[in-house]
């Protein structure tokens, strides 16, 4: 499989795993030095806001706690489209830009509504022949997320 295909599959798989609440599987796609951030530009404050900024261990801690908290009974479905993949000259890293729509589906009645749109800006390590996420920045376009979500995008 060529690198582009491997990278696209990694991005898609990471979203499917979060959809399925397979947090262990998701973290398995991340390198030990993984950093996860959620950023949104605030026209009110006229600057970027950081809504989440965690390393792999902190993200694991957060995800481990999710089942202990009360959360919406609906499901979240991510629909990513990988727009571009750029590999470094030495072939050790790649940058992937993905556009994503996220929908919520109510458990009771099954109504689906758009939850938010964002971009995933990923840096992927290719060193081992097995692509791993080195970092993911979720850049939110949607800033009004209603009751929010404990599960990151």
């Amino acid at each position: 499989m060529n690198a582009d295909k491997q990278i696209s599959e990694l991005v898609y798989r990471s979203c499917l795993m979060l959809d399925a609440l397979d947090f262990e599987g998701y973290l398995g796609l991340c390198a030990p030095e993984f950093r996860y951030t959620i950023v949104a530009y605030s026209p009110e404050l006229k600057k970027d806001m950081v809504w989440q900024d965690v390393n792999k261990e902190e993200l694991k801690h957060h995800l481990d706690l999710v089942p202990r908290h009360i959360r919406d009974t609906g499901t979240i479905s991510r629909f990513p489209t990988v727009y571009s993949i750029t590999c470094s000259a030495d072939g050790k890293r790649a940058n992937a830009l993905t556009g994503m729509q996220v929908y919520k589906t109510r458990l009771d009645g099954g109504e689906t509504t758009l939850f938010g749109i964002c971009r995933l800006i990923d840096v992927i390590g290719l060193d081992s022949g097995n692509p791993r996420l080195l970092s993911r920045q979720v850049r939110m376009e949607t800033r009004q997320l209603g009751i929010g979500s404990q599960i990151p995008f």
Partner: protein, 400 residues
């Protein structure tokens, strides 16, 4: 034992001050009355001074009356507020939530205003109006504005209102030291939630719901001193809860090291300002909620996270991280609170079989006492001229 319809309607065997009729949360006509009798009369937070740091910085604010307001810092550094409405054909003047402009120009016909609300330019003024109307007659409608209590910009659209200090009274005494340094907003987000604004504020006025929060059960509810906190009630419906130290290590494995001026430990403090503002200091984070009711079953909540202007980048990052873990849009606690309020609204339906919502816990005004809500509804009833437990009694009496 379950209840029949008649028993359900009868209400609880508690004093009338200790429960409310759920129609106060669902009736659209009461919502409109609240806007007139409460929100159009009281001081509300529009933004924070750090959002208007420089001369000519402006912010907009959706007032519960439905009008957009402009907050602008003038050349004299004073913050003033105006209806964001052009005096010509009523168009919206400022379209961005924030910006910087020495002159505010309406895009429609280029009428222009300065930062004091004076109209300074009307294209072809003389040709159109001659001596019948001039710039001096058509300034913006100014709204009372004051900067106080941690640098927040408060507004009141009632020209006859009492000064802010009179409205607040002693309610901020317990946060006086903590609010004295220069603060800065680092987090802002809005949530439009299908619930009544009072249900959100109720949640900020009672800690009994700590049972819902895994985090609070571990760091507060199960800790020494938790049940000793006392609610203090102030005139005009404001309330404050005594502080306690949060035991973060019970949740995260380690205690927070970063503190706050006046709060050397990881304490939690809570102050509720009538009718819908809450200050929560959970060291090292500080959050302020403000609300704009959009209907009986819809509210816009603005969440601000604040740090000290003097924070180092490392300190700011820690405040931010702690804030977001619990209170950001992807935080673990905020979602729980908002979900609970949304579920309340799903369960409450307008109509004759309204539920009675209990505010009847009495525990000597301590942590799980519901005095905070009882005091709130005493003030609500006074301003509305209605009994929260029987809001239609007056109407019924008039029909007889």
């Amino acid at each position: 034992m379950s209840r029949t319809a008649a028993e359900w309607r009868q209400g609880p065997k508690l004093p009338a001050t200790h429960f409310v009729n759920s129609r106060i949360y669902t009736d659209e006509s009461l919502h409109h009355e609240e806007i007139e009798k409460i929100f159009n009369k009281v001081w509300l937070i529009a933004c924070h001074e750090s959002e208007l740091a420089n001369r000519y910085d402006y912010r907009t604010f959706l007032h519960p009356c439905g009008r957009s307001l402009i907050l602008i810092r003038g050349e004299d550094r004073k913050v003033r507020s105006f209806y964001n409405t052009c005096s010509h054909r009523g168009n919206t003047i400022v379209r961005e939530p924030a910006g910087n402009a020495a002159r505010l120009t309406c895009v429609f016909h280029h009428w222009t205003y300065d930062s004091k609300g004076a109209c300074v330019s009307i294209p072809r003024e003389r040709e159109g109006y001659g001596s019948r109307l001039c710039k001096e007659d058509v300034g913006l409608r100014e709204v009372k504005a004051e900067v106080a209590y941690g640098g927040f910009v408060w507004v009141n659209i009632d020209d006859q209102c009492a000064p802010l200090a009179e409205f607040i009274g002693r309610a901020f005494e317990d946060l006086e030291v903590e609010l004295s340094p220069q603060l800065e907003v680092f987090h802002y987000h809005q949530a439009v939630v299908d619930t009544n604004y009072k249900l959100w504020h109720d949640t900020n006025r009672e800690l009994y719901h700590d049972y819902m929060h895994y985090h609070n059960r571990l760091t507060g509810l199960g800790q020494k001193g938790y049940f000793d906190r006392v609610f203090h009630c102030y005139p005009n419906g404001h309330a404050q809860l005594d502080s306690m130290e949060i035991q973060y290590q019970a949740y995260r494995g380690q205690q927070r090291q970063l503190t706050w001026p006046g709060a050397p430990k990881a304490i939690h403090k809570l102050i509720d300002i009538f009718p819908g503002t809450t200050f929560i200091l959970r060291v090292p984070s500080f959050r302020v909620d403000t609300m704009t009711p959009l209907g009986a079953n819809k509210v816009l909540i603005e969440f601000r996270g604040l740090g000290l202007k003097a924070d180092t980048p490392e300190e700011r990052a820690e405040r931010l991280r702690e804030h977001n873990n619990l209170w950001g849009p992807f935080g673990l606690n905020l979602h729980e609170d908002l979900l609970a309020n949304q579920m309340q609204t799903q369960a409450m339906r307008d109509g004759p079989e309204a539920a009675h919502v209990l505010h009847g816990r009495e525990e000597n005004n301590t942590t799980h006492d519901e005095i905070g809500m009882r005091q709130y509804y005493a003030e609500w009833g006074r301003l509305m001229g209605r009994s929260p437990h029987d809001p239609y009694a007056k109407l019924r009496d008039e029909r007889r």
